[in-house]
Structures are given as structure tokens and as C-alpha cells.
């Protein structure tokens, strides 16, 4: 296959970037999208041009590192998959593919296609945990969790923190990411002790990071590689309002 690429190139966070065109011949349809970038980088390096910087690690769809906005959609045309799980057979010979980084105020570009997603870490640090010290747990089977509840919690916990939800949202909102964690711990009995404070603190941190508000377009859920449901956003809204109305934080 022949592929034309338009790739966002930006030296660092302080400089302006632009789309640069590249042409690749001999792209195999069995290549993953990132392997196509490896091939591009190999040829750029041999020519003495700076290779394209992009985030990637496990290349099997679970670490959440890869993050490319491909032809107008996060992680490209496939749904339920990350960029590293996208293969060139999803494209046609001669296609032009535009590749940009995630765009959000809270995700500043570091270089080329790489962005800084540490805002997500700070949101989790603000309350995305159960306060239990090592060694103080009781026997695991003493907490009964019906299968349906465990399954629902697992659906939320499947989030890989890639940020596709933010990238897809017209408001760059992080509601799906934040709600997945709030919801997981709100469903489970282990999360009950701190559920009010958790919702309040995580939402406050989300706002402080500069993410937008939720317009319920549903784009986040469609583009989420783990297909996390909008139900969790509703649950977080409920948790947050309930917490605000009844918590002791006057």
C-alpha cells in the first residue's frame, strides 16, 4: 500500500507546530498503525531528519499510553480499540491520513504527538482510592459482592486512562474518565466509607485541571477503547449532588 501522512510536528511545548506531509510506499496491511510509524521513523532517521515522537508502550491495548487523533477520531476509525490495535488493513491504498495529538488545555503537547496527561494522575490522587493500609485488610470472602455488582464495577474499572474521552469530547471534558473511577468505588462496598468526599474532591480536581463540562454528546463512550458506559457519568452526577447536599463540608 501507498500511504500519505499528514503528521503534527511540534518541537516542544513552547513552539508552534504544523502538519507535515510524508509519503510511505510498501506499507503492509498487516502492520499495526504504530509499526507504520516505526517504518516512517526508520526512514526519517536514515535521511537525517528528526523522527516523530509519539507515546506508546505495551502495544496490546491495555497500558493506555498510545494516543493519536487519526483522521478526525481518537485512536482512528475502529471502535473499541486503541491506536496500537489499529492495523493498516483499515485503510485503503493511496489514503491520506491526518495524525494529530490529543487536544485539550489540560493535556499540553510535549513534543509532536506526545502530550502530558498527568492531570489524570492528579485527579486519582485527589480521591480515586480506598484508604486501606497494607496489612489491615480482613479476609477477602468476608465482603460479599454479588456477581452483577462485581461485573458492573469491573466495567468501570476497565478504563485504561488513555484520554480518548477527552480527545473526542467537543468540550475536552474528562467526565468519562473521572466517573469511571468514582462509579467503580461507589458501587463496591469497599468504597462506601469515603464515597461522598471522593466525589466532591475528584470533581473539584477535574475542574481545577481545566477540563470542560459534559454536554452528554456520548462521543467519549463511542470512542473509548474499553467502551465505558455513560451510566457511570450519571452515577457520578448522582454521587456528587448527593454528596454536596448531605456531606459535612459546609
Amino acid at each position: 500500500m501507498k500511504i500519505n501522512l499528514k503528521v503534527w510536528r511540534q518541537k516542544n511545548s513552547n513552539t508552534e507546530g504544523k502538519l507535515v506531509e510524508y509519503h510511505l510506499d510498501n506499507v503492509s496491511e498487516d502492520m499495526s498503525f504504530l509499526e507504520m510509524f516505526d517504518v516512517l521513523n526508520d526512514s526519517l532517521t536514515r535521511k537525517g531528519e528528526d523522527p516523530v515522537t509519539f507515546d506508546h508502550d505495551c502495544r496490546e491495548g491495555i497500558c493506555g499510553t498510545c494516543s493519536m487523533y487519526i483522521n478526525g477520531r481518537p485512536h482512528g476509525p475502529q471502535t473499541g480499540a486503541t491506536t496500537c490495535q489499529l492495523h493498516m488493513r483499515s485503510f485503503n491504498d493511496g489514503d491520506t491520513i491526518v495524525v494529530e495529538p490529543w487536544r485539550a488545555r489540560a493535556f499540553p503537547v510535549i513534543k509532536d504527538l506526545m502530550v502530558d496527561r498527568s492531570a489524570f494522575d492528579r485527579i486519582i490522587q485527589s480521591g480515586g482510592y480506598v484508604s486501606v493500609n497494607t496489612g489491615s485488610a480482613r479476609d477477602a470472602n468476608e465482603i460479599l459482592i454479588p456477581r452483577t455488582i462485581a461485573d458492573e464495577a469491573m466495567d468501570a474499572a476497565a478504563c485504561i486512562g488513555c484520554g480518548a474521552c477527552v480527545a473526542a469530547c467537543k468540550n475536552a471534558s474528562a467526565m468519562l474518565f473521572v466517573s469511571a473511577k468514582v462509579s467503580q468505588l461507589a458501587i463496591l462496598p469497599q468504597g462506601q466509607a469515603e464515597h461522598k468526599e471522593r466525589a466532591e474532591r475528584m470533581v473539584a480536581q477535574m475542574d481545577a485541571e481545566g477540563f470542560g463540562a459534559c454536554s452528554f454528546t456520548g462521543a467519549c463512550s463511542v470512542e473509548c477503547p474499553k467502551s465505558i458506559s455513560l451510566d457511570h457519568i450519571a452515577r457520578m452526577n448522582r454521587e456528587y449532588l448527593g454528596a454536596k447536599l448531605t456531606s459535612d463540608n459546609a
Binding site: 509499526e35 508502550d57 496490546e60 491495555i62 494522575d121 480506598v130
Partner: protein, 645 residues
């Protein structure tokens, strides 16, 4: 060097309890006077950093990823073992211990393995308390499954994402400590050297991967939780960033390296599709419960399949060779990982492999679908089939899957004593980074167990003993000569890499190393082949340092530079793996030397001469390493030969 394993005296079941009592404690008010450096934030690193911060120590946690949550522990699929015996099927701490020792082909320490089995039960409690959504029965109790041919159901799991859920649990505990200020997090920061002064580990030198800044960090103890070195093979199931640099640089500063040649090859991975391949994807071993492994009987058919002139379904039953069932009638497709892997290699070596590259065999579900119905198979393996289809574009319900073995885990690593301390006082190694409790072969669902055992339940006790002994004053500042000198060396190496300005991109050289290692130090090894590898690696090292092409500069985000620095270490580590494989004139677990096999083609151990940990000591650049032996003593198990006939 004299290696002391420091296994406590007394009966096996009491060793850990005795040790915990005899270890010195740090006064609660004094804990805040100690600084601990944790490198790596996977299961071992995140759990250790969180637990130590909870105790009151000041922790600095480093990872090269952009977030601690992305460490490669996240990719583990199958599950985590624990001797809970919730299923009432005869499991016990001793049985888990016994299975692990035997599965490791008797090349692990009894004391360590028993402790691992003992604390396994606490891990599950801890993870559940954190909100890890393990699979449950309808009534609300935890579900278990049997894994990797185990006779009991002791594996806990969270769909096919157990590693992810356990890591997110440890990450949440770590995040909580970051919010309290007890842990300072350094993401996108890579350790490039260990600072040793006065015979003790004093801190580390790091590079900020975004700005390129070289920095010193001083601490009372350094914990390396940096994972395995499977990427020596270039193609493996490891993440692209997984590397051995931290461990290798510590090795060069005096930490001895245990059993480097022990690598595990996983039989059910998606085969290589072309030269551009960057990584291999593992599919759960559970597939072999229902899938039948086969290859064409004749080379001619195989060649037609390779050229695309014939399809798998065109071959009649009598043209197929179900080679595992044929060779191992009683275990069939469920033989251990190493046996399944090796047989697939043999078939492909004979020219009977399938796929374009000829490096694959079939895993066929047609009979299972006929027997149980498509629905049942879909319920069991739906997500795996989907993943396979995403990658290969083929539908495994209709055409057999293609599989090939891939490097998956490294049992070898930095040598540690019972307290997880390396041969450098104050330097610890946890999880896959240490030479570990798995001997020559790791059982399925045991890697997660070991990482968390080390981090949650072992290191919080053992590091305290060391700290109490040295006292809070025993620390050097970052402007001490030892730090300045180490920083200078790090700068020098980076400048040297950038100055070469050769012809070949880093990946190209890495791939070449991978080919050498896979060919000569992979599933089956021979003395002759290993000697060839030794020479080839020597030449490759020269080629690397004269012809690598790294563009850009050091004061910016520079992924090629990061890779180059890692590959430089992989080349040296690869050379040591070859030496170790040459030295070990026996076959055991993941190490199969073709010269040492039974008439049936099984691994032939030599317990009389090789029941030891080979601990290699660095002697300087390009000098042969010195072999130290830690003899293994078995008091509680009887050494037997495996048989799967």
C-alpha cells in the same frame, strides 16, 4: 564474593515468622528521617512505595512511563495464585510452595518460595480491600479457576485483565500516598546509574525524559522494581519501553546477577507477520484447554499454505499432524509452556510451519465448536478471539488460529538474599527484577503474586532492619563526589551516543541482537550455537558503538536516545545470558540445552553439578564475568524428573 542467602533457621513453615521477629524495627518517630528510592511503579514498585510511605518513610518513586499506572504489570491477563483453598479442593500453602518449586525445576530456594506461598493469601485480602473487582460467584464469594495445568483452582482473576486491576489497586494506594505528601512521584524519569559509596547504595542518577536534565537523588536505600529483560530478544510480549538499564547499571556497580539465561517462552502468541514487527501479543494459555495444536504432515502442504495456495481447512484429517497429542498422549495439548513451545519450534524447523513466514502452527477450535457449540466457546474465549481477529484480520471461529512461541518472562535477575537485598548493601530488587522465586521456570499466575508479595509484605519488614542498623545519619548529600562522578559518567555516555553519528537506527541494531538471541539462546540452545552467539554479540557491540545513529540532542525529549542507551545495556546483558547458558551444562525449565535431554527429548537436569544459582559478578568492561555459586539445598521436597508422556 561470598553469597549469603540469609535464610533463617528452623522448620520451613516457621522461617518467615522467625525472621520477622528477629528483624530490627525502626522507631515510628524515626521513620520520617529515612528516605527510600523506589525505581519502577509496576506491581512490586507501586506496592512497595505505597506500603513504605504508609509506614512513615519518605519515598521517591520513579518511572519512565508518563504515569505509574502504565507499568507493564498492567498487561498480565490470566490471574494471580493464592493458597486460599476457598474451593475446598485440597490446596494449601505447602501445595502452592511445592508446585512452585517443582514447576521451577528445582532451581529456586525453598525458604523464599514457602514465604511467597504463605503471604499469597494476604495479597488477595489486601487487593479486595482496595476495591479490585475480582470475579465473583452469584452469591458474592470470590471465584477461582484452575490455571496452567494446576490440579487445584487457586487462581483469582478479573476478566482477562487481572494485571491491570491489581496494578490499578497498587497505583491507587500509591496515589493516596502522593496526596499525603509521603511519596514524591517522578514520571517520565529514567534511572541511568546507581551511586555506591562506602560499600553501600546511596542513591541514583536519573534523566528527566522531557527536559533531558540529569539529576541526582540521595536516599538511605534504593529499591529496584524495574521488571524483566525479555526485550533483549527485541520481539517479546514485553512493552516497548521495558528495559534492563536500571538493573544492568546496578550490576556494573557491583550487584551480582542471578541465572540470566532463565527465560520463559510462552507458546500461545500471535505469530510474527513481517520484518516490521515490533512486538508480540500473548493470548491466554487457557486456549489450549479446548484448542488442538497441529501442523501439516507434509512439507509440501506447508509450503503451499505459506504461499497462500492452500488453506488450513482444505487439509483432510489424515494430512494433519496433531504433534502434541501424538508425542504426549496423556497430557496432549496441555503440556507445560516450555514443552509446547519447543515442539512448535521443531515442527517449524522441519519446514512444516504455516503462515507467510513459516513460523506458526495451528490452534484449531473446530472440534471444540462441534462438541460444545459456538456459544460455549464464545463465552469462554470470546474476547481472545476478538483480539486475535483485530490483529490478524482472520476469524478464528472459521479458520484455525495461528500461534507461535514468544519470550514472555525472565526468571533470572539481580541476585537477592532472603531479605531481597542484592549483593550491594542498601540496594534491593523486587518482582521480576530479582532472580526471583521461580527457579528455572515460572508457573502461570505466579508473577503477579511475587510482585505484590515482595512489595506489600516482604520489603516493609526487611528494609526496616537495614535502616535501623545504619541509622538516619548514614546518607550522603547529592553534591558528594560519588554523585558528581556518577553524573559525569552518565553525561559522558549520552554525549558518546550522540557523537557516533553512524548509519544504523537503534531499532535496526536491536533487531539484530534479537535475532541472535532468539536463534542461539532461545527455546533450544547448544554449546556450539552459544559460541557463535558470543562472537556475534561481540561484533554487534562493536558495530553499535561505532555505527549507531542517534539524532537530536540530549536536552530535549529524545526517544531514540533513550532507546540507544537501553539497547547498549541489552547487548551486554545478552552476552552474559549466553555465558550463563553455556556454563549451565544441563537442561532445566526454560533453559533447554539440546545436548542434555532424555531419550524422549525431555529436559535432563544435572542436580549433582548444577543445583545452584549462578550469580555473575561484573569485572569491568569487556572482561569475563566471575561466576559465584549459591548452592541450593532441598530439605522438604524430593527432586524428581518431569514427565508428560
Amino acid at each position: 564474593m561470598k553469597l549469603e542467602s540469609k535464610i533463617p533457621e528452623g522448620p520451613l513453615a516457621e522461617k518467615w515468622a522467625r525472621q520477622k521477629f528477629s528483624l530490627k524495627l525502626v522507631n515510628p518517630a524515626n521513620k520520617r528521617k529515612y528516605d527510600i528510592i523506589v525505581v519502577g511503579t509496576g506491581l512490586a514498585g507501586a506496592s512497595a512505595a505505597a506500603s513504605l510511605a504508609e509506614l512513615g518513610y519518605n519515598v521517591k518513586a520513579f518511572c519512565f512511563q508518563d504515569s505509574p499506572r502504565r507499568a507493564h504489570s498492567i498487561a498480565a491477563q490470566g490471574g494471580i495464585n493464592a493458597a486460599k483453598n476457598y474451593q475446598n479442593d485440597g490446596d494449601s500453602v505447602f501445595r502452592l510452595f511445592y508446585d512452585t518449586i517443582k514447576g521451577g525445576d528445582y532451581r529456586a530456594r525453598e525458604g523464599n518460595v514457602y514465604r511467597l506461598a504463605e503471604v499469597s493469601v494476604n495479597i488477595i485480602d489486601q487487593c479486595v480491600a482496595q476495591g479490585v473487582p475480582f470475579a465473583r460467584e452469584y452469591g458474592g464469594l470470590l471465584a477461582n479457576r484452575s490455571f496452567g495445568g494446576s490440579q487445584v483452582s487457586r487462581t483469582f482473576y478479573a476478566r482477562g485483565q487481572t494485571g491491570q486491576q491489581l496494578l490499578l489497586g497498587a497505583y491507587s494506594a500509591l496515589s493516596r500516598q502522593v496526596s499525603t505528601g509521603k511519596v514524591k512521584l517522578y514520571p517520565r524519569t529514567e534511572m541511568l546509574d546507581l551511586v555506591v559509596e562506602g560499600g553501600k547504595a546511596r542513591g541514583i542518577i536519573t534523566r528527566n525524559l522531557v527536559t533531558g536534565k540529569i539529576e541526582s537523588h540521595s536516599g538511605h536505600a534504593v529499591l529496584l522494581c524495574t521488571g524483566g529483560y525479555g526485550n533483549v530478544f527485541y520481539l517479546s510480549t514485553n512493552a516497548m519501553g521495558s528495559n534492563a538499564t536500571a538493573a544492568w547499571r546496578a550490576h556494573k556497580k557491583g550487584a551480582v546477577f542471578g541465572n540470566p539465561c532463565f527465560t520463559q517462552i510462552h507458546p500461545t502468541c500471535i505469530p510474527v507477520s513481517g520484518h516490521y514487527q515490533s512486538k508480540l501479543t500473548l493470548m491466554s494459555e487457557s486456549l489450549r484447554n479446548d484448542g488442538r495444536v497441529w501442523a501439516p504432515k507434509s512439507k509440501e502442504d506447508a509450503q503451499k499454505i505459506q504461499k497462500g495456495q492452500l488453506r488450513a481447512n482444505d487439509l483432510s484429517e489424515d494430512a494433519r499432524d496433531y504433534f502434541l497429542e501424538r508425542r504426549y498422549p496423556s497430557f496432549g495439548n496441555l503440556v507445560p509452556r516450555d514443552v509446547a513451545s519447543r515442539n512448535a519450534k521443531y515442527v517449524c524447523d522441519e519446514g512444516r510451519g504455516v503462515s507467510k513466514t513459516g513460523l506458526a502452527v495451528y490452534l484449531d477450535f473446530a472440534d471444540a465448536i462441534k462438541r460444545d457449540g459456538k456459544k460455549t466457546i464464545e463465552a469462554k474465549y470470546g474476547n481472545l478471539f476478538e483480539m486475535y481477529e483485530k490483529i490478524t484480520g482472520e476469524n478464528p471461529y472459521e479458520t484455525p488460529m495461528m500461534i507461535y512461541p514468544a519470550v514472555h518472562y525472565t526468571m533470572g535477575g539481580l541476585w537477592v538474599d532472603y531479605n531481597l537485598m542484592t549483593s550491594i548493601p542498601g540496594l534491593y530488587a523486587l518482582g521480576e527484577a530479582n532472580f526471583s522465586d521461580h527457579g528455572a521456570n515460572r508457573l502461570g499466575a505466579s508473577a503477579l503474586m511475587q510482585g505484590l508479595a515482595d512489595g506489600y509484605f516482604v520489603i516493609p519488614y526487611t528494609v526496616g532492619d537495614y535502616l535501623a542498623n545504619i541509622g538516619p545519619a548514614d546518607k550522603i548529600p547529592v553534591d558528594a563526589p560519588a554523585f558528581k562522578e556518577a553524573e559525569k559518567k552518565v553525561h559522558e555516555q549520552i554525549d558518546r551516543l550522540l557523537a557516533i553519528k553512524g548509519e544504523r537506527p537503534v531499532d535496526d541494531l536491536h533487531k539484530e541482537l534479537g535475532h541472535i538471541m532468539w536463534e542461539y539462546c532461545g527455546m533450544a540452545r547448544t554449546a556450539e550455537g552459544l559460541q557463535i552467539a558470543r562472537e556475534k554479540i561481540k561484533a554487534l557491540k562493536k558495530e553499535f558503538w561505532s555505527n549507531v545513529k542517534v539524532l537530536g540532542d540530549s536536552q530535549e525529549m529524545n526517544q531514540a536516545l533513550e532507546q540507544a542507551s537501553r539497547v547498549a545495556d541489552f547487548i551486554e546483558l545478552g552476552a552474559l545470558m549466553v555465558e550463563d547458558a553455556l556454563n549451565r551444562n544441563e537442561s532445566c525449565g526454560g533453559h533447554f540445552r539440546e545436548e542434555y535431554q532424555t531419550p524422549d527429548g525431555e529436559a535432563l537436569r544435572d542436580d549433582a553439578n548444577y543445583a545452584y544459582v549462578a550469580a555473575w559478578e561484573y569485572q569491568g568492561d569487556d572482561q569475563p564475568e566471575l561466576l559465584n555459586k549459591e548452592m541450593l539445598e532441598f530439605e522438604n521436597v524430593k527432586l524428581t524428573q518431569r514427565s508428560y508422556k
